[in-house]
């Protein structure tokens, strides 16, 4: 049976963190829904806190250390992503952005991405729409319609007349992710990299392009 590769990126800083908690809830819900359809999911969690120094080093040296490289490879090979950041100063955290800064520009192209965030107050929920969503749109990911924001209050509240409670929002977003993943089927297994000669434009062609 084919296995869907789901990668969860969490930028929470404390341990345990509510960001990681939200990430796990979203992942569990997606896995459950896919299991109902008989689909198996392999979940890999990337905790950015553990990679913070390597991410900073990558900016300085231009290449990733071993653990960061592993995380980058996992994200690049994923069938779908759940990305969760705390909202700091009206936007994603610097660490969260930095991780996506060191990925290749096309690493997320076409991948379903569920965006989610945590914050101390519900007033920052639209940061998901004005900061996180454009980031992944730029990376040409397929960003799911439902973005999940969990303020401190949400963990104890039940929603109100206008908004579903957190569990239902989690379930709705995970349902969207599951639907996209099952519609796509798992990505083809990684093709061994092409012969080097196939990646290069033949020199005669490069020269010809310059002919006046």
């Amino acid at each position: 049976m084919t296995v869907h590769k789901l990668v969860v990126v969490s930028a929470g800083l404390s341990k345990p963190s509510s960001t990681r908690l939200l990430a796990d809830r979203l992942a569990d819900s997606a896995v459950r829904r896919l299991a109902l359809e008989g689909r198996e999911v392999e979940v890999t969690v990337v905790e950015l806190r553990d990679l913070a120094v390597e991410i900073a080093n990558n900016f300085v040296t231009g290449f990733p250390g071993a653990a960061l490289r592993e995380a980058i490879e996992a994200v690049t090979a994923a069938d779908g992503l759940i990305v969760v950041t705390p909202i700091f100063t009206a936007s994603y955290s610097g660490l969260f952005k930095s991780f996506f800064d060191v990925l290749d520009n096309d690493a997320l192209t076409g991948k379903p991405v569920l965006i989610a965030a945590t914050g101390g107050t519900p007033r920052h929920s639209l940061a998901l729409e004005h900061a996180v969503r454009p980031l992944f749109s730029y990376l040409r990911a397929v960003v799911l319609p439902t973005a999940v924001y969990a303020a401190t209050d949400d963990w104890g509240g039940a929603g109100d007349g206008l908004t579903d409670g957190l569990p239902r929002r989690i379930d709705r977003a995970a349902g969207e992710l599951a639907a996209l993943l099952s519609g796509r089927g798992p990505a083809a297994p990684a093709v061994p990299s092409q012969a080097a000669s196939q990646q290069v434009v033949p020199f005669a062609q490069q020269l010809a392009a310059l002919k006046v």
Binding site: T61, F63, A196, V200, F203, Q206, L210, V212
Partner: protein
Amino acid sequence: MQFGIFSVGDVTTDPTTGRTPTEHERIKAMVAIARKAEEVGLDVFATGEHHNRPFVPSSPTTMLGYIAAQTERIILSTSTTLITTNDPVKIAEDFAMLQHLAEGRVDLMMGRGNTGPVYPWFGKDIRQGIPLAIENYALLHQLWREEVVDWQGRFRTPLQGFTSTPRPLDDVPPFVWHGSIRSPEIAEQAAYYGDGFFANNIFWPKEHFQKLVNLYRERYAHYGHGTPEQAMVGLGGQVFMRKNSQDAVREFRPYFDNAPVYGHGPSLEEFTEQTPLTVGSPQEVIEKTLTFRETFGDYQRQLFLMDHAGLPLKTVLEQLDLLGEEVVPVLREEFAKGRPAAVPEGPTHAALVAARDEEKVEVAAK
């Protein structure tokens, strides 16, 4: 196999004393380093070309011409010559002139430079980096091989019946390397012409450069210049040595921690593990350098970066003594072992002249 050093020519404050050499001191230091390289038996001295501070070597043929007059044996080269922003006509003439003055002890490495702003300083468009490298080199290649050149291209005014002067020494152009850190196009270019390919190999993990070198070797064979093993490969390396490994680490650490390119990042230990940098005893340098052959195959030229990050001249000269006395003789011996006869030696003017003459005889025989 040739061994040598390449200098970036940076003026950097010595982090242990806070002293910054003047431009004049740094320029004279580069000359002293080149002379020392010959004295300790190295084969190559190469200088970078930069047009921005904190670097001094903006005029490589001037510097190399001066060094040529004070040396007898060492090959003078560049690392790199900017093929994008220099007029190829001027490169053709400057290096042919240098070739005559240095009795053929000259080759050069093409590169695109380390900074975007250099393009407008010389009236060029940065967005055209790769096309400039391709067109300019095509013209340079022609200027050195054809006496009278009619030429038209996209990036400079046409030439009608032009002869670049002087002609290359013995009518054999200087050997050309193409240096690249990330562009497969440049590996392809080097392969197309049957020129050398130099992988800087310093700042990044070896797997990255391995891909480029393999591509170059494969394409070199594709274009009929020989087998992949016969392609001309040069590699960079970076070392700091003391008799005792711990002394080397202790002395080099402040320079590493404050180095302009990778300082204030990973630790010295992490960086030496992930990149070709070696800080330790001459024996450790020998061992690490020998692993390059496992990664890249038998190759022709090994250049070390020795004078950077604010290391004082005195220290650099001591480093060169160690390199020349304790490291390179062993490397020559070890690299010669098991080296297939078909793998060419490093390029020299004499060898290029001989190859040209042999070709002439073959053509005459037919």
